[in-house]
Amino acid sequence: MIELKVNGASHRFDGDPDMPLLWYLRDLLALTGTKYGCGMGLCGSCTVHVNGGAARSCVTSMKDAAGKNITTIEGLDTNHQHPVQVAWEKVNVAQCGYCQAGQIMQAAALLVRKPKPTDRDIDEAMEGNICRCGTYSRIRQAIKMAAGVKA
């Protein structure tokens, strides 16, 4: 039996311990904000926070998630007003929007580590998150806005 916390609530899971956290969140908990894009840790669509740090839920197995605190996009902020979310809306970052939950979770984790990120910090932190629609310049702009650094 695996126990874990998702967005503050306790859950127990007795299925396949190799199941990636991604599918547990999506199919079993119906937390579909976390997206599937590649299943190999290549695209960042599935990014969640595990004990506060950004992690790819598609390559995090349930046995690795045991005992951890998981935060998904739905739980990033109770009113969805995390500074990163606010900036994302102000800059109208999203096109299709599919990658954006992962981008936002990644950016929020970056700002915890580096409250005033440089362009280079942003490149390094966001390199693993693909946006096929090509919203990168606005992602950069929104991260800077959320951090209160000059664009």
């Binding site: 976390t34 739905e74 946006c131």
Partner: protein
């Protein structure tokens, strides 16, 4: 899909102005029974609009949202013309239904085809509200004015809200088109200004529903093993181990398609399970014995040789001006070059997927589809049921780029649901997405020119060959159809002797349209070759391009297939975007130097004129960085400037991906790429850092936006790389060439 349907997809839309306009006269009136079963609003003056007595306004978004902002932009046009506050508007996504007119969100046509229809819808309701007020107050309708959600009679000072007038207006006859009065552009509240997209809050909070997020009660999950080679079939299956995987319920076969392949499912073996992971795990344990079929000899390396052999010989003439052969025979200075652009996959972030439920002979589907009417047709045909017995709900699309206009995956879900007796969600893995796409065609191009003393062409010959999209519907198709009108037979240069040819090529995989389609390889060859000629002549690229385009004139549209009446091809507008982009990028002062270069390209597609300047930096290791892209865009009337800009920002990235690193190859009929590690797309550090989009104001009718930003990027980037390194890239992707 029949051949005729296919032609209508592009040919019809491109040749007859405004599918929406055609629809409107006949079908703008509402149906009493709403096919999606929701309660009809109190008053539905048109199929796109409903009003409630409490003042709420319901606008139907009948086109699919895949990132362009169309779910906001079209309803916004209607709301503006009706003159209601956006906060009162509820947007309802339409199911697939022909009453809405064309719903195939493809070919950059949504605004082109439906801008007028939305305005007409708003103006119709507004006039009826004025007439209702006039009847109520017994005054002439001409004295009543509907503005800001209320109708006012100035002389008496009487006012009534739209909501109060709904029941009266509902009893009035629908006015004729000629009676409608439209707002003047100075009265627009939203058109030309824009609004935040309606889905933005759902997207940032993770609550927006994409296809992959659709859930219905009792739903099971399926993952499908498709034939590894296109056209293959299952010989036998051993599913013993697959069925032992925890959560796996059963395995089922999907029959192979009957040629032509059209939008039919590929066939294969499905594993049905309690959740996506179990279905995927079960699939790994399947033992399938395949009959690989007719395409096992398909090999990208040898296919490339065949394409080049084809373009080195005279081929079918797509357009001819003067006599190139006579001019070449005179001798003089000749330039020749060959170009190659590989197959590409769409790779939208959301792989294709669908939920379908078969019940009592009818299908209900929830799908990220660009084309819900094609879902109806395809599912109906696959199951042998009637078209009207298929209801397709359209979710948000996590990117599409043309892939999601082909609903094979929805038919898979429907076929499985009929066998399972439960709703089935089909999920394609990323590997499925890349290995079984409708690929953007590989293409080879040959260009030859004779030039005068100033380096200006006196004759220009261009040949291309690529497996055509028409192979979807015709097994014998070898020549390009509408693709030729995409930057090949409509090359706008002012050259006295000019011939465009197209040679045959056979398709060995499914071919489909991808964002900007054939314009990608055509613009790459034509705009690279123009740069080569400018280099040979030692002339400034901007000045040279303007000289090539020649004096402002209207091109003879008769000779250019697929040019939409009412638009035409105005080389004055093309010149203008070249001049504007040069100005904006500071071209005159920018000097390329080793490791740092500037390149330009210009291309008109989807009736939009686009010039791009790309700045490139190449470090000693050969890594390419793009600090800046400048676009000048003439797309006629702009409805939503921010979303137009964002489409061009995105197109610069999409163009960068295909230019720098995109390539799909086949060996022994199998596609070799599987996921983003071997089919990479641009990441944040590889994408252009700053994209400046200049929208040129004018009153021309609105043109395409989603696609036309893509074609100029690859040639402008390659031209910039040449300026920085002296290396001429004639084969995409660029990563295959060692730059330092």
């Amino acid at each position: 899909m029949t051949r005729i349907d296919f032609v209508s997809r592009r040919g019809f839309l491109e040749t007859v102005f405004s599918a929406g306009a055609l629809v409107i006269g006949a079908q703008i009136l509402p149906d009493e029974a709403r096919a999606d079963g929701t309660a009809a609003p109190a008053w539905q003056p048109t199929v796109y609009l409903g009003l409630e007595p409490d003042g709420r306004v319901i606008v139907t978004a009948h086109r699919s949202e895949m990132g362009t902002g169309i779910r906001t932009a079209l309803p916004m046009v209607l709301a503006d013309e009706l003159d209601v506050d956006w906060n009162r508007v509820r947007i309802e996504q339409a199911i697939g239904d022909r009453k809405y007119g064309d719903q195939n969100t493809d070919g950059s046509t949504s605004i082109r085809s439906f801008y007028e229809a939305m305005r007409q819808s708003g103006a119709t309701a507004r006039l009826m509200l004025e007439r209702a007020a006039a009847a109520k107050w017994r005054v002439p309708a001409s004295e009543c004015l509907a503005r800001n959600e209320q109708v006012a009679h100035a002389a008496s000072g009487r006012k009534a809200s739209y909501g109060e007038l709904v029941s009266l207006a509902a009893k009035l006859p629908i006015p004729k088109k000629e009676e409608l009065k439209y707002k003047s552009p100075s009265e627009f509240k939203y058109i030309g200004k824009g609004l935040p997209i309606t889905d933005q809050p759902g997207i940032v909070s993770g609550t927006a529903v994409f296809g992959l997020d659709a859930r219905v009660p009792n739903m099971v999950y399926a993952s499908i093993e498709h034939p590894p080679v296109f056209g293959g079939k299952v010989k036998s299956v051993d599913d013993t181990e697959a069925r032992q995987v925890r959560g796996v319920q059963q395995t089922l076969q999907i029959p192979p398609f009957k040629p032509p392949y059209a939008f039919q499912p590929l066939g294969g073996v499905a594993v049905v399970a309690d959740n996506t992971w179990a279905a995927m795990q079960g699939r790994k344990r399947l033992k399938v014995n395949w009959e690989l079929g007719p395409n096992t000899a398909y090999d990208s390396a040898s296919y490339k040789r065949i394409l080049f052999e084809t373009v080195r010989k005279p081929q079918k003439v797509a357009r001819n001006v003067g006599d190139v052969d006579a001019e070449f025979a005179k001798g003089g200075r000749i330039h020749e070059a060959e170009y190659y652009a590989p197959m590409l996959a769409h790779a939208p972030m959301e792989p294709v997927n669908a939920v379908a439920e078969f019940k009592n002979g009818k299908v209900t589907a929830w799908a990220p589809t660009q084309n819900p009417q094609a879902v109806q047709d395809t599912v109906a045909k696959a199951l042998g049921i009637k078209n009207e017995d298929v209801t397709c709900h359209v979710t948000l699309l996590g990117g599409a780029f043309g892939r999601k206009s082909k609903p094979d995956y929805v038919a898979e879900a429907a076929l499985l649901s009929r066998q399972v007796g439960k709703p089935v969600k089909v999920v394609w893995s990323r590997e499925d997405d890349m290995q079984f796409d409708f690929y953007h065609a590989v293409a080879a191009m040959y260009v030859k020119a004779a030039v005068d003393a100033k380096g200006r062409p006196t004759a220009w010959l261009q040949r291309c060959a690529f497996p055509p999209i028409e192979s979807q519907n015709d097994v014998a198709a070898r020549f390009g159809g509408f693709e030729q009108g995409m930057g090949w037979s409509d090359v706008p240069f002012d050259i006295p002797n000019h011939r465009a040819e197209n040679g045959p090529a056979e398709a060995h995989v499914r071919i489909g349209w991808l964002r900007s389609v054939a314009n990608i390889y055509h613009a790459f060859a034509v705009q690279s070759f123009a740069d080569e000629l400018a280099t040979a002549a030692n002339r400034d690229r901007v000045e040279y391009l303007l000289d090539l385009v020649g004096k402002p004139r209207k091109l003879d549209v008769q000779s250019i297939p697929l040019n939409t009446p009412g638009y035409g091809f105005d080389t004055g507008r093309l010149r203008n975007v070249i001049e504007k982009v040069a100005e904006q990028s500071g071209w005159a002062k920018k000097k390329s130097r080793p490791g740092h270069g500037y390149g330009i390209a210009v291309h008109r597609s989807f009736q939009t004129y686009v010039a791009a300047v790309v700045e490139v930096e190449i470090d000693p290791k050969g890594t390419v960085r793009i600090p800046r892209v400048d676009y000048a865009v003439d797309t006629g009337l702009v409805v939503h400037p921010d979303r137009v800009r964002s489409q061009f920002e995105g197109a610069a990235v999409f163009g960068t991906s295909l230019a720098l690193m995109g390539e799909i190859t086949a060996q022994a009929g199998r596609i070799q790429q599987t996921n983003y590690h071997n089919y990479p797309v641009a990441r944040i550090s590889e994408a252009p850092r700053d994209v400046h989009v200049q929208l040129i104001q004018n009153d021309a009718p609105p043109a395409g936006v989603g696609e036309p930003g893509v074609p100029p990027i690859a040639p402008a980037l390659c031209n910039a790389i040449f300026a920085a390194t002296g290396k001429r890239i004639r084969e995409l992707p660029i990563k295959k060439t060692k730059l330092v």
